[in-house]
Symmetry: C2
Subunit: 636 residues, 2 copies
């Protein structure tokens, strides 16, 4: 029986109860505290320093702390586990400041709770380096150079399907002699076929890195990993520059049809190249040492990346050009790594359920669960997978960008100046701003919080209609709206408010996702309570207050212990695939074993959607906790 302990953070008092063994970084995440960690919890960046004031902790030694710091009780939150009730102080410099997006996105990666995907995978990176000590040629042994290399590789790998391109064949003779017949071969794996990507003189086996990239519609997160040690060397993130063509995927597809896919591709590739340059600049790695880029993203993003036409994805019957593109040469799309380096896109399930979800299924272990699991990846599209080790069903709901802070007048992305939390302090509605200081707008998590609070205080009714006359912050001059921050208190001098239309957009978004989850359950004659584990993934999932998300009916109402934040499962699953042939084979089985359910074909979707347009839902009996909360609020 695992014990749980309370961790109390200061100076801003936040307390959470977590199981023994949870890292302080995860505990802080659960408490909703944004930490200035760059490496995603791999103990590399040294930015997640905290001071353990009182209580028992475990952890690994680190070279990133000075003697003086250790004497003061400073620890790296990502390397320190909770082993008793704790009081922890978070130094000002540790809390996220200006590089919020990058850090927060990188942080998402490690935010996976214990208990999810513990399977051990074989290690066979998509691009391996193999050191060969070859016999020198003699009159008695004058095999041609390529055969000398191939024969040895065939013995080592047990396959006789070893390919080599002309450029490598041309290079082999000189490489063999420059290395005195000791060479390092970079071997790329494409299922049963291995490809000699490069032959370098001498032993360069230690210099092999991969980039693992989550290509999100709004944010791109890249991790640089060492193939030899499997360590994450560094992490970087940036906005997806394609936003110029629209925040929604559909708008970008339309742009790609007008301008050709190259325009969209170029922006993405430039973003990736910038991230890669930043990554190698921070590590002892050259771009030429990066032998593979492994990417996951929704189907449209992968099409943009590869320059594939997207026009048929957005038109019935929603046909992708390719859901399972083979490993390609990264240079073919303009990604600047080793000129022979590979680009692998994680295979997708359908036009609207991409490789990010396949990776999520792999990372969460949903495909091997005994009980019923549901994975909800919340973004501009909400993707939902329901299933267990026997079967899986996926669907995608077009939620619109309101939950990401777009499509809302005062909405903004989760960056410096965004209100990321809204909560009741007695009668007062308080908020927290990313990076501190005056607020600039509301990001997705703040919007959800605010909606839940407005429901709590009765400023909106269950249909999401603003109730004038009861709350002075509900104003009607110049459009009905709830004013959260007056203009004097904001960064720009414009008030931060939620208009009726904004509320409608959010309600529409959450209704779309909930209705989709509901339809999947209905199709299989299952109820919400049948879900043994509900996993919330996506950048969104790391910030959002779960209680509030249930309160407004975005998430099904389940006991807290059945709901798990799983963070950026896309990048974690992609990392598994980058390192393991077994994982890559599993991805193929996952896409073959997952049924894509197209909501366009569901006649009852509109009705389910309509019912979900209430807060939390027309069928309030599905939300017992919301009923209790509502009762509690009324009492208070």
């Amino acid at each position: 029986m695992a014990s749980s302990y309370q961790v109390a953070f200061s100076p801003i008092y936040k307390a959470v109860t977590v199981p023994a063994g949870t890292t302080l970084l995860e505990a802080a995440g659960k408490a909703g505290i944004t930490i200035d960690s760059v490496c995603g919890g791999d103990g590399i960046c040294g930015r997640c320093k905290m001071i353990v004031v009182d209580g028992a902790v475990g952890g690994r030694p680190t070279t990133l702390l000075s003697r003086e710091e250790i004497r003061r009780g400073v620890v790296l939150a990502c390397q320190t586990t909770v082993e008793g009730d704790l009081r922890v102080e978070i130094p000002a410099e540790t809390r996220a400041k200006d590089k919020v997006i990058i850090d927060a996105d990188a942080r998402r990666f490690r935010a996976v709770h214990p208990g999810v995907q513990k399977r051990h995978f074989d290690r066979s990176a998509i691009a391996e380096k193999v050191l060969l000590h070859l016999d020198k040629p003699s009159l008695a042994n004058n095999l041609d150079d390529c055969r000398r290399v191939r024969d040895r590789l065939e013995k080592l790998t047990g396959t006789d399907s070893i390919q080599a391109g002309l450029k490598v064949i041309r290079k082999i003779p000189e490489a063999l002699r420059a290395g005195d017949f000791t060479v390092t071969v970079t071997l790329g794996h494409r299922r049963a076929v291995a490809e000699i990507m490069d032959v370098q003189p001498g032993d360069t086996a230690g210099r092999n890195a991969m980039a693992v990239i989550d290509v999100g519609t709004s944010t791109i997160v890249a991790h640089l990993v060492d193939v030899g040690t499997t360590e994450t060397l560094a992490a970087e993130a940036c906005f997806n520059s394609q936003s110029t063509y629209g925040r929604e995927v559909t708008a970008r597809m339309i742009a790609a049809e007008k301008r050709g896919p190259e325009a969209l591709q170029r922006l993405l590739v430039e973003d990736i190249n910038r991230l890669l340059s930043a990554l190698v600049a921070r590590c002892e790695v050259n771009l030429g040492d990066i032998t593979a880029v492994v990417c996951a993203g929704n189907t449209a993003m992968m099409h943009f990346l590869l320059g594939l036409p997207t026009r048929n994805i957005r038109r019935s019957p929603y046909v992708a050009a390719s859901l399972e593109p083979p490993p390609l040469r990264a240079a073919e799309v303009g990604i600047k790594i080793n000129p022979r380096g590979l680009l692998l896109a994680i295979p997708g399930i359908g036009g609207w359920v991409g490789g990010d979800l396949t990776a999520g299924i792999l990372a969460t272990g949903l495909y091997e669960m005994d009980g019923l699991g549901m994975l909800i990846d919340i973004g501009t599209n909400g993707e939902i997978i329901l299933g267990n080790k026997e079967w899986m069903m996926a669907c995608s709901a077009s939620a619109g960008p309101a939950l990401e802070g777009a499509g809302v007048a005062c909405g903004m992305m989760a960056q410096q100046g965004a209100i990321e939390k809204v909560f009741l302090d007695g009668d007062e509605i308080r908020h927290e701003v990313i990076g501190g200081g005056k607020p600039d707008g509301l990001c997705g998590s703040g919007i959800i919080d605010l909606l839940a609070v407005l429901l709590d205080v009765g400023a909106i009714d269950r249909a999401g209609r603003l109730q004038g006359g009861r709350d002075p912050r509900v104003r009607t001059d110049g459009g009905k709206r709830f004013v959260l921050v007056d203009r004097e208190e904001t960064l720009t001098g414009r008030e931060i408010s939620l208009r009726q239309e904004d509320i409608d957009n959010v309600v529409t978004a959450k209704a779309a996702i909930f209705a989709a989850a509901r339809i999947l359950l209905d199709r299989l004659d299952l109820g919400i309570s049948d879900i043994d584990r509900l996993m919330i993934a996506g950048g969104f999932g790391s910030y959002v207050n779960l209680d509030n998300a249930v309160a407004i009916g975005l998430l099904p109402d389940l006991p807290a212990e059945r709901i798990t934040y799983v963070g950026n499962t896309s990048i974690w699953g992609t990392k598994l695939a980058a390192f393991s042939g077994e994982a890559r084979e599993l991805l193929r089985q996952i896409i073959q074993g997952t049924t894509y359910y197209d909501l366009m074909g569901a006649e009852d979707y509109v009705e389910q959607f309509r019912q979900a347009m209430f807060l939390p839902h027309t069928n309030i009996e599905w939300f017992p906790s919301a009923r209790r909360r509502s009762g509690a609020e009324r009492k208070a």
Copy 2:
């Protein structure tokens, strides 16, 4: 029991005895008559017209003859078989004239005697076109476009290793819709793996051609074949422009080391592109319809073609960069066919025994012979394969270019103006000039003839020394030499003569080849008489007078029925490989089953070579026919 018949050609009287079923073209070849055939005996060019004056012939109907011609007894020699004793008239226009090299080289191809390689191979061209009628996508069947194509191909081919590159993947969606889901897929075969090279809308399966090319050191011969019908559509040949860097392979390797392999590659690729342009210009074929180029040549030529370094081929321990390069994209080396078209080089056996010999082994069926076979491919290097269905051993002797007419003062290639035949007419030494008219020099076959005649008339002794005083044509003014044609009778006004140094070069060349053959036999405790079938291949082999070749000791002395001209077995074997996966697999087995014997390691080679420096040989008992001939001459 096959009957044999005599065929007597006029107006130049030549008679040969051939088995029933031999074509007139082959009979003319055996009689040493050069025919103006371009298509290599495929019944396409209509240039090999002859008139059957008397006797029974068989044959296929042709549209290339007019009613009037048929009434006059005109036939196409390549389509007409000998079925009785014949008198045949060869019209003036049929005898080779100005386009000699091209025509003669093309003609070589079909000059393969019956009885050699009759095996039937499976048909699976290296690049096949497959017509697919696919289901149109619907909501119930919205597989991605690539999967739709792949699923069908997997069913058709029985393999799940179907690859596709990015360019093709990009093209598939539009091709499918432009063809209303009827498309033609070009499928390239690389052993177990198939590659989707192209997807074209509609049915283009009928438009698929391959180029089959024999890349010789001196001459390049290209055939254009229709993949659907397996017919040869056209043939072209040209000199290898690399001659600028030397007639011998070694000189070109040295040039490649100085200038980089690109310089040599460029010349070869330009030659090939010119040949391809000429081929398509003569047929209803576009360059884009050519989906594969299949080449054979010696190892150095294949290295030049692929731009591989050759420096280690010519230095002990004689290591090639690659003897078995995988199928590549032809565009990678600059060959202008379909941009996705393949380039396959026939695998070689060793640094000095290339794919042309592997193809020769395949074409002649040496690898499946019950009795002992020997294949001698005569060129600048003489390559010799000895063996049967149990084992094969290969070696290569550096003969120098004397037998090809180079390295001889009055030597020239077998082109217009070259003396190709020298013979005794009573006491008079007569000659024949290619294309008629005044002679310009001596080509290889003329040199061998002349040497044999000089031996017959006693103008040289058995050591090859010119005997002054006995023959007035042996002159000593300005260098000891035998004057064949005085300056007044030549095209250039320079006498055509054979100097002592020239004779020495020829004797050296023939000694190198014979000694190599002898060494191979010795290594296996075999004698000349153990050879059940001696096959002479190469451009050279089609012209040379066999009796004279034996008389000077170039070829082992065997009964005439055991010696076979097999012509350009390189191009024939290459054609088999182009059309058949079974043949391609056999090539792999052939190179694995053939032992390369390096003469550099043979301590007795020098002694064998020394002994072979006599005409025909120090051991005259090995040349019983030469002894008889010598006796006959003395009597005469």
